[in-house]
Amino acid sequence: MTHASCSDPVIANLWHPIAARADIGAGQLCQTTLLDEPIAFMINATGQATVWRSATEAPLPILERYGYVWTCLGEPPPDIFAIPEYAEPDRRRFNAASMGVHVSAPRAVENFLDMSHFPYVHSGILGDESHTEVKEYDVETSIERDEILATRCRFFQPKPSTAADHGVEVDYIYRVPHPYCAVLYKSSVLDEARQDVIGIFVQPMTQERIRAHMLICVLDDRSSDATIKQFQQLVFGQDKPILENQLPKRLPLDPKAESPVRADKV
């Protein structure tokens, strides 16, 4: 299938998130943009979701995963990446926010994978100006799973989550299983053997505008949903003005156009 908006078949043939299912009222006509193309979607009275191109009313494929509605403008793969932890019944799982940001999708994903901004952008929460060093970590590419993995990431955080009441050195694993989606695993303060899972699923509206859908899938037996959402919205609200002040908005393809350092290898 060809379409006018997105000329990159790799991107056009991916599943992209368009909304959190919980945010869609039954019978409510919703409109959004995906890869420069206006699209519409609705959930009917029986809970069935449909998505279509606004211009032609041609139906689009639909997939529901992790509380989100996903669609595709090209030929989609059978499924998206797995997050096995999402099935664990004792986790708090919901969309923390769907936030519009005037930035390109690759810059938003890069920001999500970046530890060295914690002391500056999330000072007092995810970082502290007296702990700025990014220690050596490992990056591997899994051909089998078709994803990039960054492991052995460690960073001191004054308040790593709503369940934490003191600062601690947190272990992180980052997964990039999709060009515009990333999932992080960070040590749980409640259970040493398990990890909190937070996903960012970026909806590329245009090449310079996104909606970032943030999945929460954490262990927390004391905070309300509102408190957990507020925490994530505070963190992402700190990133938004930084992302919107990046020039150029699109991530340069030439690595020499910017100055990556060792901390940026993922």
């Binding site: 952008v121 100006e129 020039l247 910017e258 100055s259 350092v261």
Partner: protein, 201 residues
């Protein structure tokens, strides 16, 4: 040629001023030693505007990852993610020429010959009018300014292809008692000129 890109009073203590000249965004800041820096408005690391950075008096610090750039040289002095390693010398921001004169900050994309406002006999401390941003091409605004019947000395700063800023001086400066009245008068005159230019644009 030299263009005014800011007024001296746009650079209060430890502020960073966002300017634009011929499509080039500029971060303009005065260090505590008085030196005025005019730099390309992006951090060399991840392209974040330095005009939202922090001027600590000696260095300009980026908001994203805390990279610091030195007064005068624009060289990166510190990368907090790797505190034990000195930044490569090549990490030096682009500097634009700067002259501070007549209460204005003057710059250009390449260093021009001669002095700012050459050929005009101006008092060294004139009254500086507020900059009037106009959404019209600089060439058209320059024509309108040239034909205006005003005793102010006016300059047009081309910001980009569709917008510019009128910067004016009253030389010599009027008596303190007349200052406010003078500022009001030229504000009205230049606002009307802006409206004319924007209606035509």
């Amino acid at each position: 040629m030299w263009y005014p890109i800011a007024a001296s009073h746009d650079l209060p203590f430890r502020h960073v001023y966002h300017a634009k000249l011929l499509d080039q965004e500029l971060a303009v800041w005065r260090a505590d030693d008085g030196f005025v820096n005019i730099w390309q408005n992006r951090c060399l690391h991840r392209g974040v505007r330095l005009s939202i950075g922090i001027n600590d008096g000696q260095e300009l610090k980026c908001q994203y990852h805390g990279w610091r750039y030195a007064n005068r040289t624009a060289g990166c002095t510190y990368i907090p993610a790797h505190p034990d390693r000195a930044p490569a010398r090549t990490i030096t921001n682009r500097i634009f020429p700067c002259v501070e004169r007549y209460g204005l900050i003057w710059s250009a994309l390449e260093t021009p010959q001669g002095e700012p406002a050459a050929g005009l006999s101006l008092d060294e401390t004139p009254l500086v009018l507020r900059g009037i941003a106009v959404r019209a091409p600089a060439a058209r605004v320059t024509e309108l300014v040239g034909s205006a019947d005003m005793s102010a000395t006016l300059f047009v700063q081309p910001a980009d292809s569709g917008s510019c800023i009128i910067r004016g001086l009253i030389s010599p400066a009027p008596d303190a008692a007349k200052r406010l009245e003078t500022l009001r008068y030229y504000n009205d005159m230049l606002s009307a000129l802006r409206d004319t230019a924007e209606r035509q644009a």
